[in-house]
Each structure stands twice: as C-alpha cells, then as structure tokens.
Amino acid sequence: MTRDAGRPVATPSQTVGPFFHFGLTANAALGTLAKDGVRGERIGLRIRVLDRDGPVPDAMVEIYHADAEGQYGQAHFDGFGRLPTDGDGTCVFETIRPGAVSTRADGAQAPHVNVCLFARGLLRHVYTRIYFSGDAALDEDPLIALVPPARRSTLLASQPSGEPAVWEFTIRLQGEGETVFFAL
C-alpha cells in the first residue's frame, strides 16, 4: 500500500435527481454570463443534451470558461453559468467567446468552454469541453491531442445557418456519436 492510513477519502457522488430546479436553477440570471461591462464577442451558446432515447428534459448544465483574454476568475467576468434543460433537452447561455488559455504548463489551449453535466440517471456528473469549429488553434490544443481523431468532432460547436451570433453544441450521453467525456 502506498496510501496513508486514515487519510480522508472523497465523499461519494449521488445523482442530482429530477427535482433539483427549485434548489439549484431558480436563479435564471445564471444563464447570462455576458453582463453589462463584460468585454468580448457576444454569443448565444445553445446546448442540447440527448441520451440513447432522445432529448434529456431534466439535465442541469454548468459551464465555466475564461474571458476574452483567456483569463479565469476576473472581476469583470466570473465565467460561471448554470441552466436547466427544457423539454427539448436544450438550454441557451448568453456569454462571450472565450480567448485561448495560455497559462498551462502543457502549452496554449484553444478557446473552450468547460461543461459539467448533471441529470437524473447520472450517478456522477460528467465533464466535457466545447471548442469552436474552425478555430486555428484547435490543431495545437494539448487536450484534443489526447482524444482519438475519430471522436474529436464531438467536442466542436458549430454555427447554425442564419444565426451568426449563435453556437450550437450537442451532448450525446450514449449511442452513435457519443460525446467525449473527460475524467479529472
């Protein structure tokens, strides 16, 4: 054994269940990250959650991302959002397009949004990342490099035609085109 006897072990996770809304998502303002005074390109980030059978109408999506300069936790922009999905499995965050994050020892990371997903049926939350299609920095991103090439496209948001300020991202929990999830 290499472990210290008696060292605390993390408390187990349990599902968020179907009835979290009045406790966790009553504050709709948590869907608006791009408040007045936040610098950067305004975008709508539309996230749709699907399971094997279709839309997930009772998920909670948390996002966390850097500001337009790639900095976390700035006074003008705390970078945190939280929304429930609707009957179609969808939620829309009003935010800004994040900048490349360059403070990692691993090298510059392409602009991305961290996603933490909770739902009935998920005994633990799962993490994924949203990257932006067409970004020149994608090829250099050290985390994408760890993902099998055939699955990388599941991490890309795209822009629907006719909605220039909107990025769309689909989370497929299971089945064809299952989204890449990350273990921290």
Binding site: T2, A10, T11, Q14, T15, G121, P142
Partner: protein
C-alpha cells in the same frame, strides 16, 4: 488526489442497471483522462455571491412554520488532506416532511406544505463549518421498480476549491430500513463509502427544547499537496 482505483471503489459507476435511468444515459465510451496540470482550474467565484438572511434556515422562509420534525444539519467540509474548505458555497434541497417536493413534476399524492420550500444555501466559515436548520424530509415512492421507495435524504451541492472538487450528493439519516432497497445509495460499491453518506445523530448539535442535530461531514476531491507516488 484519489487514484482511479480508489475512485472506482468509493464513487458510483455511471452504469448501474438496478437504477434504471442509468441505462440510457450512462456514457459507454472510455473517458479521456485529463493531465493533472489541466485539472486545477480555479473554482467559480460563485461562493462570493450574497447569501440571504434566512437562506440557511428553511423553517423561516415563509410566514408560518413548516410541519414536521425540526432538525439542525451541520458539518465540516474538508479536502482530501483533511484541511478545512472555508468560504465555499453549500446548497441543499429536499422534499417536505410528507415526502413531497416543491416541484411541478412531483405528482406523489402527499400534501405540499405552504410554509416549506425546501431549498437552502450558505457559506462555510473559516473552519469549513456549515449549518442549516430544516425539517426532516420524508421517504417517498418512485417508479424505478415495483414498490420502490427512496430513503429520506437531503440533496447537497458543493463547489470546493477547484473544478475537480465539484460535488453533488445526498445525505441520509441513520438506521433507515430502506437503505438495502435503494439502488441510488447501493450504487456506491464500498460499504464504508456508503456509510459516509449517512449523517450521524449528534447530541452536541442538538438544541434543547428545539431541534435534533445531525452531523454530515463532507470530503471534496483535490488540493492534495503531497504526491503519493513513491511513498511506501
């Protein structure tokens, strides 16, 4: 940091067929392990938002007193080094004493209580201590399988100090006869880990003539200072 083996033992798997909702939702592909240097993103600043005066007392959020058994729920939030996690947001939500949630989709035929919403939030103090006053929630049926009942529980949500330490869990009450029949609690493989989800009656937290006290300590992942590799 927990090893993958420890996590597999003390955390529930994503697919646990006795809990039927995991079957269509559990990701099946292998997860990509994020290198440690990526995992230490600073936590959201969420815990710095103002907390309302009655947010930690669920018995005082309405004009009248809620029905049910008044209780104190308190504990210490620590990291895997045992160090207190101060100033971190603790959110909880629960059903009322009759086992009914203040939620449109809960159609369990038990009464709502106009004096009980069931949601609270607070910050830990400098020693990582949180404290709520609430009502003991009831057990309630669900449709996972025939005659399925959830043991009484309170949902908790915590942020901690890093993206990795995010935790949503459920607190149970001692000696509940429903434990062996509840696939959500039983999804945790290790008996000792399951026991960490069960609060303990605590006479020191109990307020005379007022409320029983239950202690629920929580350990969040992360912020482990000393690499364990190489130590024997």
């Amino acid at each position: 940091m927990s090893t993958p083996q420890e996590l597999a033992h003390s955390q529930p798997p994503l697919l646990y067929p006795p809990y039927k909702s995991t079957i269509p939702r559990a990701p099946a592909e292998p997860m990509i392990q994020v290198p440690r240097s990526f995992a230490d993103l600073a936590a959201p600043l969420f815990g710095h938002l103002p907390i309302g005066g009655t947010d930690n007392d669920l018995t005082r959020q309405h004009p009248g007193e809620p029905l049910g058994e008044r209780i104190v729920v308190a504990g210490r939030i620590a990291d895997e080094d045992g160090r207190a996690v101060p100033d971190t947001l603790v959110e909880l939500w629960q059903c009322n004493a009759a086992g009914r949630y203040f939620h449109a989709r809960d159609d369990h035929p038990a009464p709502l209580d106009p004096n009980f919403g069931g949601a609270g939030r607070t910050l830990t103090d400098a020693n990582g201590i949180y404290r709520f006053v609430t009502i003991k929630p009831g057990a309630y049926p669900w449709r996972n399988h025939h005659n399925a009942w959830r043991p009484a529980h309170i949902h908790f949500s915590l942020f901690g100090t890093s993206f990795q330490s995010r935790l949503v869990t459920q607190m149970y009450f001692p000696n509940d006869p429903l434990f062996p029949y509840d696939p959500i609690l039983q999804s945790v493989p290790d008996e000792a880990a399951r026991q960490r989800l069960v609060s303990q009656f605590d006479l020191a937290l109990t307020e005379p003539e007022w409320a029983l006290g239950y202690r629920f300590d929580i350990v969040l992942r992360g912020r482990h200072s000393t690499p364990f590799e190489g130590r024997v």
